[in-house]
Symmetry: C2
Subunit: 495 residues, 2 copies
């Protein structure tokens, strides 16, 4: 990860102004005037995504309405070798939609229609700019919903979810985006239309759908997505357990899974996160606890009753100091209230915070929590932990003050060490936020030169000129050899 913004190139740089003037007439030949943004004040809303530490104004922004327009834009850019960054709602947290000064931003905002919703087949065919929650809203009339629920689900779009392979609170039971998407229609950088996946269980040929999902806008531009819908469970109930020790809570997570229970959500917050959330939304959390677990169970009435009893026993046996069971939906939602507000709540504690995202094998949870505390002490920076414990997907929040000299750099270094700790215990440097620009250096730690070369070869099979979202996701060999030689990287581990 990197918090230190490289130099921005000004919008009116002469070379860029010339490139802009050359590209505009070609775009105007097939796009209506309102589909092209070319003035600085028009393109400035696109200068960053959710990783707002990084900003860059793009050459131009285009807002096509049809698949054919997307094809023509990409063919033109392919021919003229203009880089393209596709963008959904811009809620991504790793800078995947950060513009390039000499590239266009292709916004899918106008691809916002639900094309078909089939309650019998339990599928929805939607355009990529449809918001995640809008699918569930449309499906709810049929007692169905779309399972992956990233925190940003009110705003983020399904096209962005496909790019990032987004998860959410429910992905422990219901899977990531890749488990809930049946097919995507994609325009390649050369302007060709291909369909990946199908409505059936398995697909002939290479599994390009799985390859494409999570590819961070580097292999193609999504123009249609077919998603699976799930029946809304008959009942959902949540338990909240308090612990006087973070490691005990970490072990309880393993105990629940080992017992064969698959909760709909299994989330953990540590002391600093609990206190921040409680002060912010007054969810009734035990503020003296070192950690809390929130475990939601869903299914039929009888299943849920049985599982609530079992999980309650397991939580008590694991050393919980208190276990509450939600009596009704209002109480269940109160248990979640603090968790859902945790990021902004922690944001109130400190002038700045940095949200990390790594994944570890579940069994390594107690060890990683202990070593996170040690690193926090070593760097003199507070770390609040809020995460999808059931999946081993960590979201440590580093609290810092960018105005204190050196604190930004220390935060960046601590973040890097936390990610490398994930790799060391057999995990990965991303959970659900992607690599983007943020974690591109850590890719050099996780992958060997041969593996990175294989990634680049696959990229070239889709985008021979390397024009789709260049500089994101997969580092060049040169970048990695430079990174590996940095003096402060003696602590790094290679797998």
């Amino acid at each position: 990860m990197s918090l230190i913004q490289p130099t921005q190139i000004p919008f009116d740089d002469t070379r860029l102004a010339t490139a802009r003037a050359e590209l505009l007439p070609a775009l105007r030949a097939f796009l209506p005037e309102d589909a092209i943004l070319a003035r600085q004040e028009e393109v400035s809303p696109y200068e960053c995504d959710g990783l707002s530490a990084y900003r860059q104004l793009p050459l131009l922004v285009v807002l096509p309405r049809t698949v054919e327009e997307v094809q023509r834009i990409l063919r033109l850019c392919h021919e003229r070798e203009v880089p393209v960054v596709a963008r959904g709602a811009g809620t991504g947290l790793s800078g995947g939609a950060l513009p390039l000064c000499d590239g266009i931003v292709l916004s899918l905002a106008r691809f916002n229609r639900i094309l078909d919703l089939n309650p019998d087949a339990r599928t929805a065919r939607v355009q990529p700019g449809v918001r995640n929650l809008a699918i569930t809203e449309a499906a709810s009339a049929h007692g169905l919903y779309y399972a992956p629920d990233p925190s940003s689900q009110i705003a983020c779009t399904i096209g962005g979810n496909v790019a990032e392979n987004s998860g959410g609170v429910h992905c422990l039971k219901y899977g990531l985006t890749v488990h809930n998407v049946l097919a995507v229609t994609v325009v390649t950088m050369a302007g060709e239309l291909v369909e990946l996946g199908s409505a059936a269980l398995d697909s002939a040929g290479y599994d390009l759908l799985a390859l494409y999902i999570g590819s961070e806008g580097m292999l193609g531009v999504t123009v249609e997505v077919t998603v699976k819908l799930m029946p809304v469970p008959e009942r959902a109930q949540a338990l909240l357990a308090a612990y006087d020790d973070v490691e005990k809570a970490g072990r309880a997570v393993g105990d629940i899974i080992a017992a064969g229970v698959i909760p709909a959500g299994l989330e953990m917050m540590d002391g600093p996160a609990i206190q921040a959330a409680e002060a912010f939304v007054h969810a009734g959390y035990p503020t003296d606890a070192a950690a809390i677990l929130i475990c939601e169970l869903d299914g039929t009435n009888q299943e849920v009753s049985e599982q609530v009893m079992r999980v309650r026993e397991l939580l008590l046996a694991s050393g919980a100091t208190e276990v509450r069971t939600s009596k009704d939906d209002a109480e269940r939602l109160r248990f979640w209230k603090g968790r859902k507000a945790a990021f902004p709540a922690v944001g109130r504690l400190s002038p700045d915070y940095y949200c990390m995202d790594g994944t570890i094998p579940r069994r390594a949870l107690p060890e990683v929590l202990r070593r996170t505390a040690e690193l926090s002490e070593e760097y003199g920076l507070r770390v609040a932990n809020v995460f999808h414990a059931g999946d081993g997907n960590l979201h440590p929040l580093i609290l810092f003050d960018a105005n204190r000299p050196g604190e930004l750099e220390r935060t960046e270094e601590l973040g890097g060490r936390l990610l490398e700790l994930c790799v060391e215990v057999g995990g990965t440097i991303t959970g659900e936020h992607g690599v983007g620009i943020e974690k591109i250096n850590q890719m050099c730690v996780q992958f060997s030169p041969e593996e990175l070369r294989q990634f680049h070869a696959v990229k070239a099979a889709f985008d021979s000129k390397g024009l789709l979202n260049p500089g994101k996701g997969i580092p060049t060999p040169r970048r990695c050899s430079e990174y590996r030689q940095l003096p402060d990287r003696q602590h790094a581990h290679s797998h």
Copy 2:
């Protein structure tokens, strides 16, 4: 699919004998004598896999013992442009391991060790030549098992399962190979060693693991596999329901899934299959039924009790004429006995049979069963249906007599129409047996020229010279344009 074997090239063809004589000294430079088979009688056991209608003697067979030997073999073949076909147990049903006359067969038979079994992490690290069932046998001491269970699980190897993305009776609940493998170590055709996947939930970079699984030996040679292990469920119970109408049974499958029950297995057999199985193994099946469903439920005692009651109600409501519930494990295994013996049982009915493998969206089951019966009548060939109903994975068995003039050709044509019917209703031409050489023409029906081009580009990203298992899996554009022009293909549908 194609049952008509192309001309075999004789082993002692002069050109091949020369090529063999040139390659042998180079292999002997780093392989022990017992790792090279070069005489006709030695290589003849490798002339076919489970699709025995196709046979071809390879140039040579090599049986390496170490990863380094595999790397050196592949580097040598890469340099000299010798095609390579990797082979596990040779139980594949689509000819994926069919040798090439001018290529070597690389057998992984000596990679047969379980390297590590970690009951806490519930993973096993195994060599590719380990048999599927051997993993479960080793894990059973810890109350664990490996979930995917293809019919050939006594013999087939995990490396072959990775190549074919194998399923089995339990894949409805526990997924295909891709859902049960965490990581693979692969040697590329250029001899490079890469690791795909990791022990964590999600992986940074493109999902090359999902791309690789099911790639039918065309992207690399697997030298190590890390699999997930599952806890053996507390209890398993099965129901057997009889129907007087095949379509009713098809609809019952949809009803069970719609009720939110996920059976461990949900299998269907039609009249001809029931009668054949009963005559063969005396499982006590109702021989006057038009179809039977076998539904297995597993989990905790209480879960299973509840689900058995619900499924029983659903089966009765769907019009079952009889529903039996297994009273003990002996009865449960008796229910399965006929299903597991169905293929050889049907084989007794007719001199020859041809096992198809296609997948359809579950809701299309009643329609496809009806149209299969119509096509069976049209072609005057009996079709027995035995399949993984819960997944929509069909295995129609066409009964024929190759000695009757024209019957082989009619069988082949009917098989092609059945696969194209799968594509027409939104399904695919494979379920779990792969494309191999068998269904390469049907790939032209399922995919557009742009999509096939994309497959070839991905192949080239792993194997730039096209030396790994050439001629399998993905048809060349030329093959497709020839196939599309065949006079008997007016009935074909393109998606």
